[in-house]
Amino acid sequence: MSTPQQGNGHGSDRRRRLRTPPPLFILIPAAIGLVLFVVPVVGLLIGVPWGDLVALLSTEAVADTLRLSLLSSLAAAAISLVLGVPIAWVLARCRFPGRSVVRGLVLLPLVLPPVVGGAALLFALGRRGVIGAPLARATGLTLPFSTWGVVVAVTFVAMPLMVVTVEGALRNLDSRFERAAETLGASRWIVLRQVTLPMIGPSLVAGTALTWARALGEFGATLTFAGNLPGRTQTLPLAIFVALESDRDTAIALSLVMVTVSLVVLVSLRDHWWRRR
């Protein structure tokens, strides 16, 4: 009870369970399933033109794409921290009618085909959209087919990962720590900054990394809402898709970058994310 972030179950039980080999009726289907995940990665690695890798990745077009992808995905992660964490807080801590509807809306982009998400964004924020038209008239800002459009699209798709991760952490957090802080004279802002956020720190890190990785890999919503303009809206996945038609080696080299980055994120998160669920 005093250590809120530890996993469940008794340590010795767990260790014993981990040492027993699984029975064959578990092992065989698991191995077959694993093949599905391993084969594509192996196929990619075999196809990589290792000798030309550096040359392929150092062209100006690739640099533009990488820069745009990094910028938009980092922006999505930052926006998700600023806006997604408060959403998670409200969902975890407040009871109000329609809360499950709100949660459903927030999580919708997780299950929605990204193309549909992009289309919805276009209807709302497009040049003639419900919000887009007045926005364009008032500020001259049009989001579709702009770099900001990319940021909006990838944030829309990726932020739910931040919300689910942080909401879970806030639910698991023993609220008595925060109440203890209050009795010590801490204002609610200090409680949030000095107690709540540090105590869910691992989940904030996990949420940020997952959000960032998802934003980096976003394809459908970006293509639909922001298009595929090299240097302006063409992110890494879009560039890979285009290159597959014309320049297979570049496509494979870029894919290798994506696989490496994503794998590094997931492997380094293994403790923060998987065990807490």
């Binding site: 203890a180 009795t183 010590l184």
Partner: protein, 353 residues
């Protein structure tokens, strides 16, 4: 009137907490009660952590809660120190920063807060643990840090919510001693929540017994012992309280040696529940560690049990069923043997050894 004056009602799903409580400065009131009686709710209501449905809470000359006037002072501004059941130290902060937390919240600079916190850690005897995270502390060490954290902000009321319940006997003994010292230094009113009668008798000036949200009895220990008003109070009151000197597993009470399970030294208060005392007509076999012959002095009939008071060498009250009392022919003057298992004698160290 200085001190705490509270009259409050909190409606919960399983009970309604309805309590009137006055604690003068420099006095300790112990609230005793079974699980689910509303003890923790009382602490939370006083600290402002749960809203009261009706009532008035006054601490010193400040009104903290007044349902009539709609007054509610936020927990952060109540100046009430709370020591929680499991310490509730912030796991991401060192012991020192845990103690400094309240001072930092009050606006002190990091350096001054830490310097003052370090003095408090020294006062509770854990200076060397200043840089440790709570996860590295034993239960007793953590509660020392917790009491320092609560007292460092100079609270106007101290709430102790079962501060010893998660500790083993050795840690408890040292910690109680430290509490007695610091409680006598602290001049405000103190409320101790506990379910251990010996602890209440030892640390408190006055006892309040809470059952199902209501106060069923209050008074000094002797009043409750003489006239228990409910079964729970009677259970508490009927507990045999002995004072003796312990050395290792031996306890000497009124020149009579007893064997105890705990390894303690010095003056102790021992409690023995009446149901833990067996009565035999002949010398019991199986060599129980504590057994002696005596005679019955009084027999008190209650609804579903009979309390039997015995003469020396250690006068004790035992409890049997009415069936056992009549089948064994237990009446005043009957010669009997008493036996008590060593594990049924609970000891609390009274002073330093």
């Amino acid at each position: 009137m200085n001190g705490l004056e509270a009259r409050l009602v909190v409606r919960r799903e399983r009970f309604v907490l309805d309590v009137a409580l006055t604690i003068r400065p420099d006095r300790t009131v112990a609230v005793l009660g079974p699980n689910g009686a509303g003890k923790t709710t009382l602490v939370e209501a006083l600290a402002g952590l749960v809203p009261i449905d009706w009532g008035l809470i006054r601490l010193g000359d400040r009104i903290l809660d007044d349902s009539g006037a709609g007054t509610f002072v936020e927990p952060a501004h109540r100046r009430i120190g709370v020591v929680f059941q499991d310490g509730m130290l912030f796991p991401h902060l060192s012991a020192l920063d845990n103690v400094a937390f309240g001072l930092r919240s009050a606006g002190l600079s990091r350096r001054r807060a830490r310097r003052q916190a370090a003095r408090w850690l020294a006062a509770v005897g854990v200076s060397e643990l200043a840089e440790h995270r709570p996860g590295k502390l034993s239960g007793g060490q953590a509660q020392r840090v917790a009491i320092a954290r609560a007292l460092v902000t100079d609270p106007k009321l101290l709430l102790l919510d079962e501060p010893f319940s998660a500790l083993d006997i050795t840690a408890r003994t040292g910690l109680r001693r430290m509490f007695r010292e610091h409680l006598s230094d602290y001049s405000g009113p103190r409320l101790l929540i506990t379910h251990d009668p010996a602890e209440a008798f030892l640390l408190a000036d006055e006892l309040v017994i809470l059952e199902a949200g209501s106060v069923v009895q209050r008074g000094i220990a002797d009043e409750i012992r003489l006239r228990p008003s409910t079964r729970y109070a009677a259970d508490l009151a009927g507990v045999n309280l002995l004072v003796g000197i312990a050395s290792g597993h031996n306890l000497v009470v009124e020149n009579h040696p007893l064997v105890i399970a705990d390894d303690v030294r010095g003056r102790v208060i021992a409690t023995i529940h009446p149901r833990a005392i067996s009565i035999h007509l002949d010398q019991p076999g199986g060599s129980p560690r504590n057994a002696w012959p005596t005679t019955i002095r009084y027999v008190d009939h209650h609804a579903d049990r009979v309390r039997i008071q015995t003469a020396g060498p250690i006068p004790l009250t035992a409890e049997v069923t009415p069936d056992a009392q009549s089948s064994l022919n237990l009446y005043p003057g009957t010669a009997v043997w008493l036996s008590i298992k060593a594990t049924e004698i609970h000891v609390v160290t009274q002073d330093s050894a």
